[in-house]
Symmetry: C2
DNA sequence: CTGTTAGCGCTTTCAA
DNA sequence: TTGAAAGCGCTAACAG
């Protein structure tokens, strides 16, 4: 029989006699035959059934939640996930982008590390479906999934204000990150609207890991007029803040709200601004699939909601 | 000029005149040319520069730590990571294995879900480098990376015994898991050697998630003769145990040692049996690469050490 | 329902 | 140093 007939059977195409079909299947099974998806994709015109995901650090629970959501959604569409970590390094990000494109991924999902997205822009222009997650890529017309950073920050500050706080500190990541910008901006705006003078003095940056956050908070607490409440602007900042409070006499009096939920927040009684990272990934994958199917659809900007989950630490009154 | 010359330049092969080389590079740049890794791999004889990783659940921090270690090591060898989640379902695992093989991965790294590894065995026989992580696959001659479950358990029990405990409970995952077997076996052995009668009565299973663990521990604590110490046999069991202790009067008197370290264990003062999951992944990738290079090397069984990290919860004396 | 022919974009001989 | 030809394993288009 011909090659083509076998191909038809193996691809589940119609128009094959049942007898022939069975013959092929038997042969394939007994020979341990496996179709070659690489060759198939090539013949079909280049694109593979792979979707690339370029992320800061797979070991970070936020990114792995994203990856999990992405993978789950892709699976529904018969697509596979190709992961690469940029270590938040823009240069690595660019080279990984190149590698994935050479692998002919059908789409790319990225949490952009740097500010320069010229590489990505070119690919989009060349027709590659690109979805940007967590942080929009400035000046790029790409599908985007972010959370409502401003709304979440606003709600957190309102929560603390409602509990009587005025001296509220903000402990954030690196200032060049978009999420930092959004959150700190909104923090300042909310404080000013509440009539807090000199709001800037309460903002700290550089809490890229727990240790750095801890130091920042220790410093804040040692000042002549320490804050009565702290908004920790990401999960690592929250950990560092908690460490600092533990190590400071009276630290358990200070109110804390953390941005990003985490598994043990419940156990620790930490009030947080929560959102669904797995869902973020799922939505991103959905957009990637949609754009692959229809390159001309209008660009979509998905903003996922956040909510304040009160668990005790954010409801302490000011000392 | 010929196709081949261009190919040589793009692959950095020697024997090209500098002038020609430059001409090709300019052309490639101005045309936005990208080589097609899919076609290249096909022409080169089938195998792609991809390594597959089949894991239980990417969102679980243990697996994502593995993935991170794997990815980092593969990168060193110019390989890319293709991830797939089995949801701990043996059937899904088998079908994913098939998909990855059709994608012509150069090697496969697996945390086997079920007990039946016939599919994998066939692939190994067919020459596919397979590395098994976290749990050995019974009856298979595959490279393996596991931690010293027995040693870790033994050390944890010794730690609790040394602090005067005799009524020590074991809260573990599903009994069919290899890690459960190892840990519970060794737990029983250690208890018996210490002269604890009727050791089996202290063993509980089914703590596959925190909620289940919590219920198990609540039950233990409500018994007429409650344990004075608990060995939580995985990270979710630890969380559930802590929840149960929080919700039980006097629960803060009960000693706890958790298997698996976690970020907030330090903050919570939880004594744990720790090991390096990222390193596990790295070693697995290393083995995968080594076997790809030399299919005939002897099968290697890597056992990574564990260590007890005392942080307070495991040092409480019996009530 | 089945087969033939021509590629997909690259690499690998081997020859010039 | 360069090039021509063959083919990796498959599919798409068209015949039979």
């Amino acid at each position: 029989m011909s090659l083509k007939t076998a191909s038809r059977v193996l691809n589940g195409e119609p128009n094959v006699a049942t007898a022939t079909r069975e013959r092929v299947q038997d042969a394939a099974a007994s020979l341990g035959f496996r179709r070659n998806a690489v060759a198939a994709d090539l013949a079909r015109g280049g694109l593979s059934r792979l979707v690339g995901f370029i992320t800061g650090d797979l070991a970070n629970e936020f990114y792995s939640a994203l990856a999990s959501g992405i993978e789950r959604e892709l699976r529904e569409h018969g697509l596979q996930l190709l992961t690469a970590s940029s270590d938040e390094d823009p240069e690595r990000e660019a080279s990984l982008t190149g590698e994935l494109i050479e692998r002919r991924v059908g789409a790319l999902i990225v949490t952009p590390a740097g500010a320069d997205h010229s590489a990505l822009r070119g690919e989009i222009a060349a027709g590659l479906p690109v979805v940007v997650v967590d942080r929009p890529a400035a000046g790029m017309d790409a599908d985007t999934v972010v959370i409502d950073n401003r709304g979440g920050t606003r709600a957190a500050v309102a929560h603390l204000l409602a509990h009587g706080h005025r001296r509220i500190a903000f402990v954030g990541d690196e200032p060049h990150l978009w999420t930092y910008q959004e959150r700190s901006d909104e923090f300042l705006a909310a404080l000013r609207e509440a009539g807090v003078a000199d709001a800037e003095r309460w903002v700290r940056s550089g809490a890229h890991d727990a240790a750095a956050a801890r130091d920042l908070v220790l410093e804040l607490l040692a000042a002549p007029e320490p804050p009565t409440a702290i908004l920790a602007a990401n999960n690592r900042a929250t950990v560092g803040t908690l460490q600092a409070l533990r190590d400071t006499p009276g630290g358990d009096q200070v109110a804390v709200v953390g941005f990003d939920d985490f598994e043990l927040a419940d156990l620790l009684g930490i009030t947080v601004v929560a959102y669904d990272a797995v869902e973020m990934g799922r939505r991103a994958a959905e957009l990637a699939v949609a754009r692959s199917a229809d390159p001309d659809r209008t660009v979509e900007q998905v903003v996922l909601p956040t909510r304040v989950v009160p668990r005790g630490s954010g409801e302490r009154p000011p000392r």
